[in-house]
């Protein structure tokens, strides 16, 4: 279908963009890559009065890597992440997860900020941001705020963003070189939205037991979630079959995935268990080259 009628503005500063958004009582919307919003408009699932394009805003498309982690500007595209080889070391989980987002042409336009704001329950970037304790920088009429991912994702396509707010940056805290991690998802076709997916990481203590476990899942709930019961089953334990089975059991017990045309809830639960089990095994052998010899 054709999009509904709206007005269009392409401001050149963030302040101007915010005041345009604030001028319409919640009926103005940001457009960035348009790769989620344009389909929503075509289906008439969204009908804003005004679209505020981020195209001309400067400084939002850089990837900054420092000791305290990785900062992605809101306009960083999937293809920018894919081609930045520094990320393979600075944030391998991000680099791996983003390989699964959409197809070539969509990757040339879709952005980090758009994905976070759109908050699809199956989207990779929200899942990675939540799993990694990411922080979003958000600018609106009332100034700037930093929001934790855990407070940001509220429900399906729902976040804590106010109508006049723009995400400018997401910060993923630093990544130790010998961290154990995995990202696993399953979709019928590569590039399609995942039926279920898991991002996980942990570090090892002196006795090679897992500590600081982070396990986040996508596609099995209203929004990305952390599986605290599964994390507890991993923390403090050696990387053995028994531990991994207990982690998988805890994970499966703590989710209640929805059924839809793509998969039933029961299938999604089983799938998540399989993906998590594989991810745990893969993570155990990762980072070994950097680990201190036993």
């Amino acid at each position: 279908m054709k999009p509904p009628i709206f007005e269009y503005a392409s401001p050149s500063t963030i302040a101007e963009a915010v005041s345009l958004l604030a001028s319409r009582d919640g009926n103005a919307k940001v457009i960035s890559g348009g790769q989620s919003l344009m389909p929503m408009l075509a289906f008439r699932l969204a009908s804003p009065e005004l679209l505020v394009d981020l195209k001309q805003l400067k400084d939002l498309n850089t990837i900054i890597i420092r000791d305290d982690g990785v900062r992605l500007g809101a306009k960083v595209r999937w293809c920018d992440i894919e081609s930045d080889k520094r990320l393979d070391r600075s944030h391998p989980l991000l680099a791996e997860a983003i390989k699964h987002v959409a197809h070539y042409q969509v990757r040339n336009r879709g952005t980090v900020g758009g994905s976070l704001a759109h908050a699809d329950p199956s989207a990779e970037m929200p899942g990675v941001t939540l799993t990694c304790d990411g922080l979003m920088t958000i600018v609106g009429s009332r100034g700037m705020r930093i929001e934790k991912a855990s407070d940001f994702f509220i429900g399906p396509l729902t976040t804590s963003l106010e109508p006049d707010e723009i995400i400018t940056e997401v910060h993923l805290p630093s990544w130790p070189a010998d961290r154990r991690w995995a990202f696993r998802e399953f979709a019928r076709r590569k590039g399609d939205f995942a039926m279920a997916g898991v991002a996980l990481f942990y570090d090892l203590d002196q006795e090679n037991r897992a500590v600081d476990a982070h396990i986040g899942v996508i596609g099995v709930s209203d929004c990305p979630i952390r599986l605290t019961a599964a994390e507890a089953a991993l923390n403090g334990n050696a990387l053995t079959e028994e531990t991994f089975s207990a982690v998988v059991a805890a994970a499966k017990g703590s989710i209640d995935p929805p059924s839809d045309i793509h998969a039933s809830g029961a299938y999604r639960r089983a799938l998540l268990g399989t993906l998590l089990g594989r991810g745990l095994h893969q993570s155990a052998s990762r980072g070994e080259t950097n680990a201190s010899p036993i």
Partner: protein, 156 residues
């Protein structure tokens, strides 16, 4: 709203409603009907064009968003002679009805321009965003692999 951009090397100025997609602007307004429209919501890839060299879906871009940009459609990729990709598509029977072909050729052109040494896995990965209901894809992949050599030498 007025929008100015470069289409296949020529400057164009046109008046569009803000809600007009780039695909509709090119086809209906500017009468370049080589860009096909299949799904109108970003799934099929038939509408692929190049914006500043990147392959993108023209149904997911508003015409007003390409202000100042360089847009190339399938019409811009061949002159009087068949282009290397067109020759390869003909040789490998990489099309039947031809509906999907402009999208595949624009996508493959962008890919081979940026990565002339692509392997089959990468070609398959990139083409996975385009649907073809006729060929079964294998001849398309073969045609793209076959055309690589012309991009490696810099003849486009």
């Amino acid at each position: 709203m007025q929008v100015q951009f470069e289409l296949n090397g020529e400057a164009v100025i046109t008046d569009v409603e803000p809600r007009t997609t780039l695909a509709d602007c090119i086809r209906d307004g500017l009468r370049k009907t080589g860009t096909h429209v299949g799904c109108e919501h970003g799934v099929c890839g038939a509408c692929t064009v190049l914006i500043n060299g990147d392959a993108v879906r023209a149904c997911l871009v508003l015409a007003v968003q390409v202000q100042g940009d360089k847009v190339v459609t399938i019409e811009g990729l061949s002159g009087d002679e068949l282009s290397p990709l067109q020759v390869a598509f003909r040789k490998h029977h990489a099309l039947q009805c031809g509906f999907c072909t402009p999208g595949f050729i624009t996508t493959a052109h962008a890919l081979l321009t940026n990565e002339p040494n692509v392997n089959e896995e990468r070609v398959r990965d990139v083409l996975s965003g385009n649907l073809c209901r006729c060929t079964g894809y294998i001849p398309i992949v073969e045609a793209v692999l076959d055309a690589r050599i012309h991009y490696a030498r810099g003849e486009e």
